[in-house]
Amino acid sequence: MATVFGAALVKDKSGMLTIHEEYSPPKLVWKSIDSSINVPIIEIPLDRITNLQATKPSSAKMMLNVITKENETAAPKKNVFAFTHRPTMDNIKGALQQIVARKKTSIQAAQQSISEGGSNTATPSGAPGTPQAQLQQQQAQQQQQQQIVVDDEFLSNLLDSKRLLKNHALQQKVLIENKQLMSTFQEAVMNNGLDPTEFWNTRIHLLRSYAIQHNQRKGPYNVLSTIKPVASSDNQVDVSVTREKIHAIFEQYPIVRKAYDDNVPKLSEGDFWSRFFSSKLFRKLRGEKNYNKVRGDIILDKYLYYDPDFTDDIQGDEDEIGKNKKQKTNEHIDKFIDVFANEEDVSAKYGNAPDMTMRYDKDQDMVSILRDMNRLSKNMLSNATKDKDETLEEEEHEKEDQLAFSDLEEKETTEYNELKVNSNLNIAANLLEKNGAKIDKLQYSKFISNMKSYFDEELDLAETYESEESKKQILEASKEISAAVKLNSKQSRQSWQISKLQGLDSMQMLSSSASSASSSTNITAANNSGNNGAFPTPNSPPIPNASSGSQQDEIIPDFPVPLLENLRLTHSTSIEFLRHFWLHFSSGSKHQVGTLQKLYNSLQKSHQRVDAILKQIEDNPKLCMKAKEVMGPLINSLDKAIQKYEAELYKQANNDNTPNNGLTHKSENNNSSSLNTSFVKTTT
C-alpha cells in the first residue's frame, strides 16, 4: 500500500501533506516545499484527532479542517489545509477517516479484550512467542486432550441404559424441552402412579439422543469467516472479537501470530486488531476474492507475501523469512501432480485450460485464495485428529492412494442373499369355498345364461340416466362425491391452505373438471338419443372454506378446544399405559406379575376416564358421536388389552388346582371387586 500524500496549502504556503501510517500512532505531516522559507513542519499524531471537516463537493473552495486536542482537557486546535485538486483532498480525507475510525474501534477492542480477559491478562493467550506463553499453550493443549478423553469416557457412561435411567437431571431436562412428553409424564407418572423407571424404560432412545446432542463438542471452524466487520453510520468499523476467537485465529493462521509477535509491543493490542481487520491480509485469509481492492494496512499487509504456513520453528526475522520463501520454491513436488511440469508436456492443447485452478498463469490471486482455503482445511483437520504419528509405510501407502485413479477401478458388485420364496403360499384362495355354499344353484345357472345374452341387442347408453331411479341416484352420487371431497379437504386442511395460498381453488378445479366431464358425457348421450340436459351436475360448486363449516354441512364443526385437549391427554396417557402393559404382558416373566396388575388397573381407569369424557358431552349427540369416533380405536385397544388380561387370569385361575388360591391372592389387592366383576363379564 502506498503512503497517502498530496499537495496542500497551509496559510497560502504550498507544501506536501503525508500520512505516515507506519508509526504508532499514525501521523499526518505537512512540510513546506519551498525550503528557502522557514515554515514549521506540522505534525499531527492522528490519535489526537477529534473532528474532521471538509468543504462540500459543490463548493469551489477545497479545505480540510483537522481538529485535534492535546489531551482531554485541552482546547481544540484547528489545522486548516487548502487543496487545489479535489481528488487529492478526497484521498487524504478518506485515509484520515479510516484511521480515525480504526482508532475508535481499537479503543473498543482493547476495552473488550480487557473485560473478557479478566484480571489474568489483557493480551490474548498470554504473549505468544515468549517461552512462558508457549508453556501455557502446551498446558492448554494437554488439558484439551485430557478433556477429550474424559468426555469420551463420560459419554459412554452417559449412554449406558442403566445410567440413563438413573440420570434424573437429564430426564428432567428432556421433560422440560418436550411439553407433550411432560404432560404425558404428569398424567401417567405423577397422577396415575406409573413407575417413572417404567416410563423412561420405553424412552431410552430419547434420553440417549438428548445426552448425545448436548454433549457434542464443537470442532474447529474457519474463525475468520465468522468475523464480519460492520461499517456503522459514523464511519466506524465495528468488530467484536472474543478471546477464544483470537486464540483460534492464532492457531489457524500462524502468520497472524507472527504479525502479532512482531508488532504488538510496538502497536497497542487494540490497534493491532483494528489494523488487522482493515488489512488486505485479513481479507485474503478470509478468502475474499477482491482483497486487493481495499485500502489495507501498511504494516500488516507486508505479511501477505510471507509464507502462510509460517511456524514457530523459524524465528521471525525478516531475512530468514526471505530464505524460507526461497526454500518454498525449491521444494520438491511430485512430478505426477506438478502443474508446472504439465506445461512441459502438454498432451492436449487445452487440457487444463477450463479449470482455473489447474492453470499456472491465470489469476494467481484466486488460486492463492483457494490454496489458502485448502491449507486451512488441512490445518483444521490435522488439529482435529491429532492421532498417532504415521509410519513411513503408511505415508507411502497414502501417497499411492492419492495417485490412484480410483474411478477407473472396477466396481464391486453387490452380493445378494437369495430368498427361496415358497410360491405355494402365493396363491389365491378358492372363492367357492368361502362364498359358494349359500348360493341357489338353479338360480345361479339361470343368471349366467341370462348374462350370456346381455349384448345380443344394441346397448342404449341413454338408459344410464333416463329412468327416475337413475336420476335420483345420480343426484345422490354427486352429493356423496362432494361430501367426500369436503370431508377430505377438512382433514387435509393444511394442504388445502397451501393450495389456496398458491392461488388455486382446488374445489373449483374439481367442479370444473366434473362439469367438463359431464358435458362430454352429454355429447355422447346426445349422439346416442338426441336427448339433452342429461346429467344433473352438482347443484352449485361447493367451495369448502375452513371457516364456513356451516350451511348444509354434514361435518360437525371442530371440537371445543378444552374438550380436544382433554381427549388428547387421555389418549396419550392411555397409550402410555397400553405400551407398558403389552411390554410386560408379553415378557412372560414372573417378576412382572405385580407391575402387570397395576397396569391392568391403570388401563381400567383409563377406560373410565374415556367414558367420563364421553358422558360429559352426552347432551350434544353430534359432538358425542364424533368424539366416540375419534376415541374408537383407543377404546378398542383398551378393551382388547383388558380382555386379554382377564382371559389369561381366568384361564390361569381355572388351570390352578386350587382356584381359591388365586382369589385369595387377589383379595389382597384393593381392586378385587372390580376383578371379580370382570370375571363375570368374561364368563357370561
Binding site: L432, F455, E458, G503, S587, N661
Partner: protein, 352 residues
C-alpha cells in the same frame, strides 16, 4: 399457477422447458392412458343382481371410455377383465378386452358390429368412440359365453392381481414407446372382497405401480349392507395416490365414473380426492389368510404370520427362526396367579 404447474412436473419427473406457458400447455395437452380392470366374478354379480348387472355397468363404462377419449385426441384406453374361473387352457383367467387381439380390423373399422353383424351401440356414435366401445362389448360378450353355468368349478379364484400385472405391463410398454410422456392410471371396478388375493403378487403390483407413478383407483360395488373387505385395494389406492370409493348408488354409477374417476394423474397433487373410505392398514396372515391386527413378522422376508409355524421355519422364505427368539416368543404371559403354566400363545409386534 406457475408454481403449481412446476410442482406437478417436478413430482412427475417430466423434463419440459421451464416457463409457465410452456409447462401449462404441456400440462394441458399431455395425453393420458386409462387402464380399466373389470372384476366379473359371477358369484358377486349374482348377489348384486337386484341392484346392478354387468349390462348396466357396461353402459356406464362405454360412456366413461368415451369421456376419457374425448378429453384429448391422443388419449388411450385399455380394458381388462379379471375372470374367476380358469380351465387351465385358453379360457378364463385375466384377459385384455381392448385393444383386442382377436379383432383384426384396422382403425377405420370395416368390421363394426358383432359377429352376427348387429350393432352393439348406436351406429351414429362418433367413430373413435364406437370403435372402442364395440370391441370392448364384443370381447366381453365372448368371454361371458365361456362362463360355466354350473357352480361346481374347481378353480374359482380371484385373478385381480393377474389383471393388475397385465395392465402394469401394458402401461410399461406404452411408457417405453412414448418416452414417459404418457401419464397412466388404472381403475379397478371391483365386486369381490380381496382377502382371497395372493398377498405377494398383489403387494408386488402395488409397489410396482407406486414406483411407476401409476395411480390405482378403485370403485367398489357392494351390497348396501355389505361389509367392505378391500384391504389390499385400499392400501393400493393409498400407496399410489389413487381414489377409493365404495359405491352406494349403483344406478348413479356414471356420475362416479365421470367425476371422481376422471381425474387425470397429473392433477392428483392439486385436487382433493373424493376417497370415501378410511384406509385399513392391517394385513393378512400368510398361512391362515385371516386379517390380523397383532402378529409375527419374519425378519428376513417380512411375511406376516398369526402363529408360529411348528417347524420353526418361515413358510415363505424357509429361513430358520432363532430358537432363543422362539422360546422367548412362546413364553406365556404371567398374570395374577404366580405359579402358572398356562398354555396360551402370546402376541407380539403390532403389525400396524
Amino acid at each position: 399457477m406457475d408454481e403449481i404447474a412446476d410442482r406437478v412436473f417436478q413430482a412427475d419427473d417430466v423434463s419440459i422447458a421451464a416457463g409457465s406457458s410452456s409447462t401449462l400447455q404441456a400440462f394441458d395437452e399431455s395425453p393420458s392412458s386409462l387402464s380399466l380392470i373389470i372384476d366379473i366374478n359371477p358369484l358377486q354379480w349374482f348377489r348384486l343382481k337386484d341392484q346392478i348387472d354387468l349390462k348396466d355397468l357396461s353402459r356406464s363404462i362405454c360412456i366413461y371410455l368415451n369421456c376419457h377419449l374425448s378429453l384429448n385426441s391422443s388419449n388411450k384406453v385399455n380394458v381388462l377383465v379379471a375372470n374367476n374361473f380358469s380351465d387351465g387352457e385358453e379360457n378364463g383367467g385375466s384377459k385384455i378386452l381392448f385393444p383386442s387381439i382377436h379383432t383384426k380390423t384396422d382403425e377405420h373399422g370395416s368390421s363394426f358390429g358383432n359377429s352376427q353383424g348387429k350393432n352393439l351401440v348406436n351406429p351414429n356414435m362418433y367413430r373413435q368412440f364406437r370403435f372402442v366401445d364395440e370391441i370392448f362389448l364384443e370381447e366381453l360378450h365372448s368371454i361371458l359365453q365361456k362362463e360355466p353355468t354350473e357352480l361346481n368349478i374347481k378353480n374359482f379364484k380371484n385373478t385381480l392381481s393377474g389383471a393388475l400385472s397385465i395392465s402394469l405391463s401394458y402401461i410399461n410398454k406404452l411408457n417405453l414407446s412414448n418416452d414417459g410422456l404418457l401419464k397412466s392410471r388404472i381403475l379397478i371396478i371391483s365386486v369381490t372382497d380381496d382377502d382371497s388375493l395372493p398377498y405377494i403378487s398383489t403387494m408386488n403390483c402395488i409397489f410396482a405401480a407406486q414406483k411407476m407413478k401409476v395411480p390405482i383407483d378403485v370403485l367398489k360395488l357392494d351390497k348396501k349392507d355389505g361389509v367392505n373387505n378391500s384391504i389390499f385395494l385400499q392400501q393400493a389406492t393409498d400407496a399410489t395416490n389413487g381414489i377409493f370409493q365404495k359405491i352406494t348408488h349403483p344406478k348413479g354409477l356414471v356420475q362416479y365414473l365421470s367425476t371422481s374417476f376422471l381425474i387425470d394423474s397429473n392433477l392428483r397433487s392439486i385436487l382433493i380426492l373424493p376417497t370415501n373410505f378410511k384406509i385399513d392398514f392391517r394385513s393378512s396372515c400368510f398361512l391362515t389368510k385371516k386379517i390380523i391386527d397383532i402378529g409375527y413378522v419374519c425378519s428376513v422376508c417380512l411375511c406376516i404370520l398369526s402363529l408360529i409355524p411348528k417347524n420353526h421355519r418361515c413358510p415363505v422364505c424357509d429361513s430358520k427362526f432363532d430358537d432363543k427368539v422362539i422360546e422367548k416368543l412362546l413364553k406365556k404371559p404371567v398374570v395374577g396367579v404366580s405359579n402358572t403354566n398356562g398354555k396360551k400363545k402370546r402376541k407380539i409386534n403390532s403389525v400396524m
